[in-house]
């Protein structure tokens, strides 16, 4: 059941179209991530949900209630909590007063406010810091205050706008899991905005990938990674190789085609979009570095075996990257850290046909 419904949302700033007639549904209790590069319209979409931005066309429905079309519902009346990119923790108020702000506006009894603030601060790991001013807290702690403030009123919807982008790498990773487990426990429908694909993967039930104001794909993290809808998604989510070519043969069984690659050899791959299965269609074949194997055999036979020379070798601790030159196309290969090959060595690559995806 859709709890948040975005219908035909359109917003422009001057001549730039920020959000281009998008449709999106968020299910009750789900964490949905809007993922995309800066300027793709993800933050604008989130701010329309919050009511901090008014769309030029379209509507947002929260729990069946239209937020724009039947009179503008201001942010304060939407039953939302929001975590801002720069925390937006009020520097002139103590931690307690920051978190209690919304409860005080609801004119709740003092005792109840105290109790609820205490509980939520414990949940985000800030016990005992009620009396501090934000200036006396670290970035991570301020982020937790912001989260506690957004959650304390038990909002119907939690909106998070790149909440971790100002934290350092270690803390960011830790906070991903914390945010996920807190939100899960409280079972709040959440919309999360980020440009960090790893963050999106860890946190989300579903991801909506945005590009230039459009939603290009919506799906579970695994689906997005394994079956990217187009080149943009394949490139933006994870690391991949693109091999240019054109469709030369179409196989009867399943959705498989042969592609004549830029380096002149045939390559077997999958197509998820049947309209692409046309001879002569120009495509880009995407294959992830971890899906490429180094063939042990000195002169193996079969499909998708290519001979190449190791141009660069990059050691990353738990694995290796080889950049292999196959007839002037560089292919990135991820292998175990202890393989014997060196720069300049010749080898055979096996690009698993099940994992080669032809994309437009």
């Amino acid at each position: 059941m859709a709890f948040i419904k975005i219908e035909n949302l359109f917003k422009r700033f001057g001549r730039t179209v920020a959000v281009n007639h998008i449709y999106l549904e968020v299910k009750k209790g789900e964490i949905l991530t809007l993922l995309g590069p800066s300027g793709c319209g993800k933050t604008t979409t989130l701010r329309c949900i919050a009511g901090l931005e008014k769309p030029d066309e379209g509507d947002v429905l929260i729990d069946g209630q239209p937020m724009f079309s039947q009179g503008f519902v201001p942010p304060s009346q939407r039953g939302i909590g929001m975590v801002f990119q720069n925390y937006a923790v009020w520097p002139h108020l103590r931690v307690f007063d920051n978190v209690a702000y919304g409860l005080k506006l609801q004119k709740l009894p003092r005792e109840e406010i105290k109790e609820r603030v205490k509980t939520i601060l414990a949940a985000v790991g800030l016990e005992g810091l009620e009396g501090r001013y934000p200036g006396q807290l670290s970035g991570g702690q301020q982020q937790r205050v912001s989260l506690a403030r957004a959650l304390v009123r038990n909002p119907k919807v939690l909106l998070l706008d790149e909440p971790l982008s100002n934290l350092d790498a270690k803390l960011r990773e830790k906070m991903r899991f914390e945010i996920k487990s807190i939100v899960r426990r409280m079972n709040i429908t959440s919309v999360y905005v980020t440009h960090d694909q790893a963050e999106a993967m860890v946190l989300s039930d579903r991801i909506a990938v945005m590009d230039a104001g459009n939603i290009v794909q919506v799906g579970a993290p695994e689906e997005i990674y394994k079956r990217p809808a187009n080149r943009f998604v394949a490139d933006f989510v994870g690391t991949t190789n693109f091999i240019a070519g054109e469709v030369s043969d179409i196989l009867k069984e399943g959705n498989r085609v042969y592609v004549r690659t830029e380096f002149g050899q045939r390559m077997l791959c999958k197509v998820f979009d049947s309209t692409m299965a046309v001879t002569g269609q120009k495509v880009h074949v995407s294959i992830r570095p971890e899906d490429i194997e180094i063939a042990e055999d000195t002169a193996p036979k079969g499909d998708n075996l290519f001979r190449g020379r190791i141009e660069h070798r990059a050691y990353l601790g738990n694995f290796l990257y080889f950049f292999v030159n196959v007839d002037h196309t560089l292919i990135r290969v991820q292998t175990a850290y202890d393989v014997p090959q060196r720069e300049g060595d010749e080898l055979f690559l096996f690009l698993d046909p099940e994992k080669c995806v032809a994309l437009l």
């Binding site: 901090l52 942010p75 304060s76 937006a88 009020w90 002139h92 702000y101 506006l105 009123r153 100002n166």
Partner: protein
């Protein structure tokens, strides 16, 4: 720390010692002298606090400060919010317009208002003609008039500092309040206003302390029971009665102590409350809201109202500048250029002196301000904080204190007051912090690595300064120059004590012409001329960099 830096520091300290510390301590010492004897003691101060007249004067001055502050805040707060938050056409022009009262000498405005609102002024004459009143209404003579004119003069300080404060608030801080359920006025009270409080305080101190400085405006309105006015009368007219002279000096010292005390207290409070920068990457213009039609109309109406008040003064001065014998008429009937002929042809000395003194003061200001800014921002010379502190304190010292102390120290002490150089010198010391603060602000914006790159490439410190720093600082420095010039050009509270025959400046000319009682046309023409000159300079400043202006009024806080 190099020997060059130490030498520079010593040089700057020598200047400060001779032209700031020496005269002010001379003033202090003088205040302990007991008339008719050669002894020193606390007698003058005891007399001051025992005498109900002086106590009343002191209380009046405080009261005036509160009233002016309350009035400017009441009228300035909505204006600052309108200017900072709403997307309105013509905002920039309007901002330039409301700067006008700061740069206009307050007393020039007072003269204009008397012509307009006085007992036989335009409004009263019209009211009498129409039969609305049977005898003239007292619109301005008295405390209410004083509050009105001083509030009009000081309104820009409050508006500028508050709107800088509103602009500096990170938009998400207000948005978070809206998400949390605080709408409109509630959000304004709980989030926007408290976050502005450091900025407000910086402006409020200037406003509150103004009555401790301005001795002339009360006198024009026929009031004298204010600390600086009493001090002026005691010192300027009672050189024969030594006790009264010393009481005047005591008044000046007490004014100074109050000013410096309040200034330091507010500075301490602001430092303590300065909200550390938490956010990055926010828009420079702050939050801008698209106003609804009701708010738009109300905003324009309010801006029009304030604009009208501000423009009244130049309009009245303009009318009188081009006329003669504007007496008992709602508007003048005899138009002439004679006033300007008098100024340009018969007494060109006033104009010449004004420019000469201001330019010389400016040269002093640059020669002192640039090296000081460099020393304070870029070196680790011991005592640089103290130097900064002493210079900044001059923001608080009343002009009358500088004037009187110069008169005493360089007349009875070092005999410098016999040479005209004392005029630009006093202007320079009076406005000491202005140029320094601009240079300082520009220096802080200049990335130190740009200078380091020059030094690594083989340039010495001096060469680096002239080749790299100065060109990059030029914009800020230039705005500083112009603002300094404007402030020096309209200075009177210091100069009036020091001028001798032949050293009169335009502001002194205005005062003298008014003082003689019948030459309002000439005074008006002089004031009008000043407005034209200053307005041209202001437009230049606004063109080059309005943003730097904020630093000048002490309202620049960190973003938070």
């Amino acid at each position: 720390m190099s020997r060059g830096h130490l030498l520079l520091s010593a040089l700057l300290w020598a200047v400060v010692a001779l032209f700031v510390i020496y005269p002010l301590s001379f003033l202090m010492v003088e205040s302990f002298k007991i008339a008719g004897t050669s002894r020193y003691g606390l007698q003058n101060y005891i007399d001051f606090f025992k005498d109900t007249y002086y106590l009343k004067t002191f209380a009046n001055t405080l009261l005036l400060g509160f009233l002016v502050l309350a009035t400017t805040t009441l009228f300035g707060l909505p204006l600052a919010y309108i200017l900072a938050r709403y997307r309105l056409k013509g905002k920039v022009l309007f901002t330039a317009l409301i700067l006008l009262p700061i740069v206009l000498p307050a007393y020039a405005g007072a003269f204009a208002l008397i012509v307009l609102f006085g007992k036989m002024g335009t409004i009263n004459l019209l009211l009498l003609d129409w039969g609305v009143v049977s005898k003239p209404v007292n619109f301005i003579f008295g405390l209410h008039g004083l509050v009105f004119i001083q509030s009009l003069h000081l309104l820009p300080f409050i508006v500028l500092s508050l709107s800088a404060g509103f602009t500096n608030i990170d938009p998400s801080l207000e948005e978070a309040a809206e998400v949390e359920g605080a709408r409109g006025f509630k959000r304004f009270l709980t989030v926007s206003l408290p976050l502005c409080s450091p900025n407000y305080l910086a402006g409020a101190v200037i406003v509150f302390l103004w009555p401790f400085t301005d001795w002339l405006t009360p006198l024009i309105f026929g009031l004298q029971d204010f600390l600086p006015s009493t001090a002026y009368i005691n010192i300027a007219y009672h050189f024969t009665d030594m006790h009264r002279k010393y009481m005047g000096i005591v008044s000046v010292v007490i004014s100074s102590i109050v000013c410096v005390g309040i200034f330091l207290a507010s500075k301490y409070w602001v430092e303590r409350r300065k909200y550390t920068a938490l956010s990055k990457g926010t828009t420079l213009e702050g939050r801008i809201i698209e106003p609804s039609i009701v708010i738009r109309v109300a905003s324009y109406a309010y801006m029009f109202f304030i604009g009208l008040l501000v423009l009244l003064i130049p309009i009245v001065l303009g009318l009188s500048a081009f006329s003669r014998r504007w007496v008992l008429q709602p508007i003048p009937s005899y138009w002439t250029l004679d006033n300007f002929r008098l100024i340009f042809l018969e007494t060109p000395m006033l104009l010449k002196n004004s420019f000469l003194f201001s330019v010389v003061a400016l040269i002093f200001g640059v020669c002192f301000g640039l090296p000081s800014a460099y020393l304070i921002t870029r070196t680790k010379v011991p005592g640089k904080e103290a130097l900064d502190f002493v210079i900044t304190l001059m923001l608080a010292f009343p002009g009358i204190a500088v004037g009187v102390s110069y008169l005493l120290a360089f007349w009875e002490g070092i005999p410098l007051a016999t040479h005209w150089i004392i005029m630009p010198l006093s202007l320079f010391v009076r406005r000491l912090p202005y140029f320094l603060r601009m240079a300082h602000a520009s220096y802080l914006q200049l990335d130190v690595s740009l200078e380091e790159a020059s030094e690594v490439s083989g340039a010495g410190k001096l060469r680096t300064f002239f080749n790299i720093s100065l060109p990059l600082l030029l914009k800020g420095v230039f705005v500083g120059l112009v603002m300094f010039f404007i402030m020096a050009f309209q200075e009177i509270s210091t100069a009036i004590f020091l001028y001798r025959g032949g050293w009169e400046t335009l502001p002194i000319g205005i005062y003298l012409n008014w003082h003689r009682g019948m030459e309002f046309g000439i005074a008006g023409a002089m004031a009008f001329l000043m407005i034209v000159i200053i307005f041209i300079l202001l437009i230049i400043v606004a063109r080059i960099g309005g943003g730097i202006l904020g630093a000048a009024w002490g309202s620049s806080g960190g973003r938070y």
